[in-house]
């Protein structure tokens, strides 16, 4: 028993965590049974929230991964002056409260520079562009950190061999580094998508919570809870859990296939 205590402890912790989630979900299902709908279930509103969440989070995930690949590669492979500062800035959005970040963005778009950008690209504050920007600010550092780690674990020796065979920097990256990191980048992309999908604080601060306009799934949950519509809140929570489950299943499937 003494020799196997640590694994036993590990299994015990897993069991408690699973139990906690089961009890929480059971509580939600119980609430669903005892809470009557406050008003007619607004199917079209929920559908809008799901579509907006999926569209914005997917766009942000793709865009942030495309930006994170070159920046993660540079952080992994090169030493340069100020690198530690860059790494700290990348980690900031994961540490700072999302509402604080949203407030920073909101204040920025109240400045001359912000107003000029809105003139060029269209309204950002209290619009769908604000959702995308807020989610991007939250997940870009995460994407860069994850993808940098992927490249850290991609053996540099293959790149060196490629160079001895005549490949220049670009060729090494496209023919060797990227294909070898593909699996890890895919996994990072799915995690970033999941994080963007669940983003609330910065989104609601910058884009607001207007139904049929800037109402993502987390915002819809917030609005339902704020109006004490427990029934609709629970439905939205179950939909969120189902989406999260689908994303995690996709992650496992994509890893297995690769």
């Amino acid at each position: 028993m003494k020799n196997n205590f640590f694994p036993f402890l590990g299994f015990l912790v897993i069991a408690f965590v699973l139990l906690f989630f089961l009890v929480a979900v059971a509580g939600v299902v119980y609430q669903l049974r005892i809470s009557p709908p406050q008003q007619e279930f607004n199917f079209s509103e929920v559908l809008f929230a799901i579509k907006l969440s999926l569209f914005s989070s997917l766009a942000v995930a793709i865009f942030s991964v495309l930006l994170a690949i070159p920046s993660g590669y540079v952080l992994s492979r090169y030493e340069f002056w100020g690198k530690e500062v860059v790494e700290a800035v990348m980690l900031l959005p994961m540490v700072v409260s999302p509402i604080a970040l949203g407030a920073v963005l909101l204040m920025f778009f109240n400045t001359g520079a912000g107003k000029l950008l809105e003139k060029i690209f269209g309204p950002v504050v209290f619009s769908w562009r604000g959702i995308i920007l807020a989610q991007l600010v939250i997940v870009l550092g995460l994407a860069t950190t994850l993808i940098r780690t992927v490249f850290d674990y991609t053996p540099k020796e293959y790149e060196e061999i490629a160079r001895t065979l005549g490949a220049n920097g670009n060729q090494v990256f496209w023919r060797i580094s990227l294909p070898l990191a593909k699996k890890g980048i895919l996994a990072a992309a799915v995690l970033v998508w999941a994080r963007a999908l669940g983003e609330f604080g910065a989104t609601v601060t910058l884009a607001g919570a207007t139904t049929f306009k800037t109402e993502t799934l987390p915002v819809a949950i917030f609005l339902s809870l704020a109006s004490a519509d427990i029934y609709q809140t629970i439905i939205l929570i179950i939909l969120s859990l189902a989406l999260a489950g689908a994303i995690l299943f996709l992650l496992k499937f994509s890893l297995k296939r690769s």
């Binding site: 060196e160 001895t164 065979l165 220049n168």
Partner: protein, 357 residues
């Protein structure tokens, strides 16, 4: 010709110090040294993967300002590093693809036939054996026809039986292609068997370079002696000089050694004798002049059998001398532990080094 002048490189607390080498065209050159001596670092500097100080030129063309991919130097790493996401065929064609060279199929067919890997072209790299991986990695390197090839312990992961076969196969192929080769190894037998010339490296410094036989018979320093595994190293003092030979007393035993210049009576020295140079004296066989001054009587105290040779250790007074010879001699002379016998080192082979003790 590859010319390396005053190569210096530092990584953390390890230094490559003042390396100077000249390697002739088409030469098969071995860099010999223990693990951690800096051999791989040296190769990385030649390839341009490290920022070194010094000058490296090949056929009169300076390489120092050239990036790795511009140097045209082939490299076969110790663990082959075949690209796992590419097939065997794609691995081999890689150099031709990145340089967009013509006649890919013809060159692939040629190199596959040369190395006997036609059957492997459709396979995936993870299903190859060690010997197959080596040949595929070699094909990948040679298809671009590098004029200089660097091999980093190419036989380290190969079984002994296959290794000895591949030694000669590889050398035959590279000699046929006319490639200049620098091979790095820690295996003394490999170096002495394959090399045109050898350099011995410890702790980032080249201690000796020249013909393999020269290094074996005349190691330049005690460091090289120790690396070659020669155990017959005896501390002593020169007690006399007569008829162009020196008499050295080691723990009560007098050795007659050649009269090397730079040594004088009263000097502290180390006497070094290769185990292969110590002969057994048979009563019914006339004693050669080269042996007669150094005949000792001793007793066998240890013996070790290898595949076809044997090492015996003979105690003579306070000294224990190692002898090495074919196992058949051991049985022919009916040797055994405890047996008393006459031995004598071959005088011209006895080496002398200054002693600071």
């Amino acid at each position: 010709m590859l010319k390396i002048e005053n190569l210096n490189f530092q990584v953390k607390n390890f230094f490559l110090k003042d390396i100077n080498l000249e390697i002739a065209e088409k030469e098969y050159f071995l860099l010999l040294g223990p693990t951690g001596s800096g051999k791989t670092l040296f190769l990385r500097c030649v390839m341009g993967l490290e920022k070194y100080r010094g000058k490296i030129s090949f056929h009169g063309r300076g390489l120092d300002s050239l990036a790795t991919e511009e140097r045209g130097i082939g490299y076969l790493p110790q663990n082959y590093l075949l690209f796992p996401h590419l097939s065997v065929r794609e691995n081999i064609l890689f150099a031709l693809e990145v340089k967009n060279l013509a006649e890919k199929e013809r060159r692939l067919a040629e190199i596959a036939e040369l190395l006997g890997i036609e059957d492997l072209l459709k396979r995936q790299v993870e299903r190859l054996s060690g010997g197959e991986k080596q040949r595929v990695a070699l094909a990948r390197t040679l298809i671009a026809q590098p004029r200089l090839l660097l091999l980093d312990e190419p036989f380290a992961a190969i079984d002994v039986g296959l290794k000895h076969y591949l030694w000669f196969e590889l050398k035959k192929i590279l000699t046929r292609l006319g490639t200049t080769v620098i091979q790095v190894t820690h295996d003394i037998e490999e170096a002495m068997t394959l090399a045109d010339r050898v350099a011995v490296m410890f702790a980032g410094k080249i201690y000796q370079w020249g013909l393999a036989s020269e290094i074996l018979l005349h190691p330049a320093s005690l460091a090289v002696v120790q690396y070659l595994g020669i155990k017959n190293v005896f501390a002593g003092k020169i007690v006399a000089e007569e008829k162009s030979q020196l008499i050295v007393n080691c723990s009560g035993l007098n050795f007659f050694v050649p009269g090397y210049p730079g040594f004088s009576v009263g000097q502290k020295v180390f006497v070094v004798i290769r185990p292969q140079s110590v002969k057994i004296i048979k009563e019914d066989v006339p004693v050669r002049p080269e042996l007669k001054n150094n005949i000792f009587v001793g007793q066998i105290v240890e013996n070790y059998f290898y595949s076809d040779t044997v090492s015996i250790f003979v105690r003579v007074g306070e000294i224990v001398l190692e002898l090495k010879f074919p196992t058949v001699i051991y049985h022919r002379y009916k040797l055994c532990l405890g047996k008393t016998l006459k031995i004598a080192p071959w005088q011209p082979d006895i080496l002398l080094y200054p002693g600071n003790f």
